[in-house]
Symmetry: C2
């Protein structure tokens, strides 16, 4: 990994994700309250110390409650604030006096409601500056960290499952988009490292978070949902640096006139010109996606597979139709079907029955068994003209031995260090195989197009790194 020249301010974001101690201000014993769900989250799973703060409660599910953060008997790194907007500046003042380093303001009722709310937000930002507290929010979902288990998401777990630990970190300007993404990841057992929904961005912005995640060792892929950008110059600089050390995926909504108008009434974001944004994408090496599905598809492959050293893809399939569709897609994406070397060609010709198509796509045909797959995988990966492998299996054909298929593929593939993605179309049987592959770090896709596109992401990232 190249050396990073990030600003000192990166360190100041650590307490959001790895605080030693947290005060939950507005913790509540009453179900349905935001402060109840957050307090429960910390009580259930946070790995550090936490303190409930609520002046009208003696205790909250057996944990002592303090009347204010100032009465907490130990140091506090992070304050999570979920009290009505008008008292938030005053509460943050107390956090400052206490020496807290960071605060997440969940409460809404600030700039997003206009007028007095905007003034209140200015006041809030002023307090933060005065005390040197980093401030996330207001009007946000805050943070989920799968390691420290900071979890300020005020949606109970029976509604919103938390995903397992993994290498994808996600920043979202939209709270709802953020939680939908997390729940989806949980459902598909995709590992997440850190999540941050930063709301009105009174202090901490998308660029700050990006900078932090670029330097974060647990984060292998950064995924962002954006509508507008707060400080364009800073964003461009930080994204350019981040993209040199790890893949940065961006879903930038508001790319049309209708979308930009909708963004303005949603987060008040000025979406800006989409041409300009595209130029930034090109210049910085970000990878732009246009849908949550694509963000997931790309994030998975980039988190688990090595970058492709080039754009020459080998395809091995037992279904000719899928091979044709992949060939189409590869050409459309500007990738290439690898030209198999003479030795590879001769070897496959010698080992396979005459009805097997020894071109690329290698069509093993419908009677292909696991052994035929193994021979083909090894031969094409040994070929120096091949940069990556797209494997297709229609697992319904009886010759495929389902019991050992994943093992056979993994064994044939593992030593070559070239990226692999698998396309497994169909219902139950396909889904079962897909889960086993995913658990072993091989991304799988139900359609030829999505599989081919994911290889495109790997090739694109490989190119921007080189």
């Amino acid at each position: 990994m190249r050396e990073l020249k990030f600003s000192e301010s990166v360190r100041s974001l650590e307490p959001f994700f790895r605080p030693r101690s947290v005060a939950i201000i507005g913790a509540s014993p009453k179900q349905k309250k935001v402060g109840y769900v957050i307090a429960k989250n910390f009580a259930k799973s946070f790995k550090g110390k936490f303190f409930m703060v609520n002046p009208t409660a003696q205790e909250i599910f057996g944990h002592r409650s303090y009347p204010s953060i100032k009465s907490v008997p130990e140091e506090v790194d992070l304050a999570v604030i979920a009290v009505p907007a008008p008292v938030v500046p005053e509460v943050l003042e107390e956090c400052g006096e206490k020496g807290a380093k960071a605060a997440i303001v969940i409460s809404g009722g600030f700039k997003e409601v206009g007028g007095d709310g905007a003034k209140l937000e200015e006041e809030l930002a002023g307090v933060a500056r005065r005390y040197g507290i980093r401030l996330m929010g207001p009007n946000c979902m805050g943070v989920f960290d799968s390691d420290s288990m900071v979890d300020t998401l005020f949606i109970p777990r029976y509604r919103l499952k938390r995903p397992p630990k993994g290498g994808i970190s996600f920043i979202s300007q939209s709270g709802a988009s953020g939680i939908a993404f997390l729940d989806w990841a949980a459902g598909e057992r995709i590992g997440i490292s850190k999540f941050a929904s930063y709301g009105n961005a009174a202090d901490v912005s998308e660029a700050d978070l990006l900078e932090f995640l670029a330097a974060d060792e647990e984060t292998r892929v950064i995924a962002m949902y954006l509508e507008g950008i707060k400080d364009g110059r800073k964003f461009v600089k930080v994204v350019g640096q981040a993209s040199r050390v790890k893949p940065v995926l961006v879903l930038k909504a508001g790319s049309t006139i209708s979308g930009a108008r909708a963004a303005l009434s949603h987060t008040g974001a000025l979406a800006g010109s989409d041409e300009v944004f595209d130029a930034v994408v090109k210049q910085t090496g970000m990878i732009r996606v246009y849908d949550w599905e694509e963000m997931f598809d790309f994030a998975r492959v980039l988190a688990y597979q090595p970058a492709a050293k080039g754009d020459r893809v080998a395809v091995v399939t037992n279904g000719g139709g899928a091979g044709v569709m992949i060939a189409d897609e590869i050409e459309k994406l500007g990738l290439r079907l690898a030209e198999l070397g003479e030795r590879t060609h001769a070897e496959l010709k010698a080992k396979f029955p005459s009805h097997v198509v020894v071109n690329n796509p290698v069509d093993l045909t419908g009677d292909a068994d696991n052994e035929r797959y193994s021979v083909a995988i090894k031969a094409v990966l040994a070929d120096e003209g091949v940069d990556s492998l797209l494997l297709v299996c229609i697992p319904h054909t009886p010759a495929v031995d389902l019991e050992s298929f994943v093992d056979v593929v993994m064994d044939s593939w593992s030593k070559w260090g070239k990226p692999l993605v698998v396309c497994l179309p169909g219902g139950r049987v396909s889904l079962e195989l897909r889960e086993i592959f995913e658990d072993r770090g091989v991304p799988t896709y139900p359609t030829p197009r999505r599989a081919a596109r994911s290889l495109y992401a790997l090739a694109k990232y490989g190119k921007s790194k080189s």
Copy 2:
């Protein structure tokens, strides 16, 4: 429905899907044999009469076996033939003498292997012509009909689930693509009427099947996977007629140079110029898709929802980010965000708290409950400037009452006769709601883009019908 001017030959395809009696020639008592699986399928679920034909067996799972079709004591409409290629012409000859009306030749070893195989296929086609037997195949998966339960798919059901009854019929030039599609439909409980994989098309072609399905009352949507077209002139004529009475979706692979080359080694199809095909699509009113996922997405919405009368889409959401993405997508697809009428605007303003965004997208915001959804749905559907509704729900927000959500939506929507699609992103909770909607005929999608694209299919079909 407009009157159809289809050729008389349509009737001649009936015995493939609705035979009164079937002879399974090559039925086998030995597991792993193709003739075993097919015989099992008929024994288990076929609604008409069937006869096992195998000269070396006395009985096959308790069913009497006849030495040849000629010894079957009753009339035979359809012969299913799964015997080695060299004896197929002779067997078909016997079918002719017996008076069978149609035959499906599952066996491979014909034109696809070249040389002698091609000659054998010519011979076979000659026999069929001589006796006036309609011939499907050779080298095909044959037919699945969810009503009569003709099922010649030689993949056992523990590997390949059969989908439930429904309105989508599917023709596939590729056998593997066909079974992947069926299994996927089964997994997602999507209803299929008829399926045909026609292999080498020695007699029955994609155009014949298309014509048949266009006239078939149980088929509401026709979906096709094609690599090449046998008789371009006939195809164009039939597709044009079919598209006037029901939606025809086409996934045409081999659209690039690489893909066309792969198609040639797969089915021997000459993919032809993609520009020409696009012109045909435009001229005939077919809807072209580029991926299996899209084919499914479109087929579901076209099978269950009325065509949109225009391109003006209303969006109701509790997540602003999804609204922004949908607004983008709608503009990119050439649809329009409906402009809400003054009355609608005033009504929503009066009934909703001030933080609700009363534009289109209507952003009910994260605290929206079922009642707020109900009011919004009724108001926008009553608006004459609205042709269709795209409803988004982030179901994780606690204000949504999951128990009654689907009922509330269905009640608010049902009387207006305008198409509805629902976007429900996320994991478990979303999937559960999606299933309930789907069972009630409302297509659902996990992402804004896929939901918006499905409405595009409805609008496009509505336009081509008008």
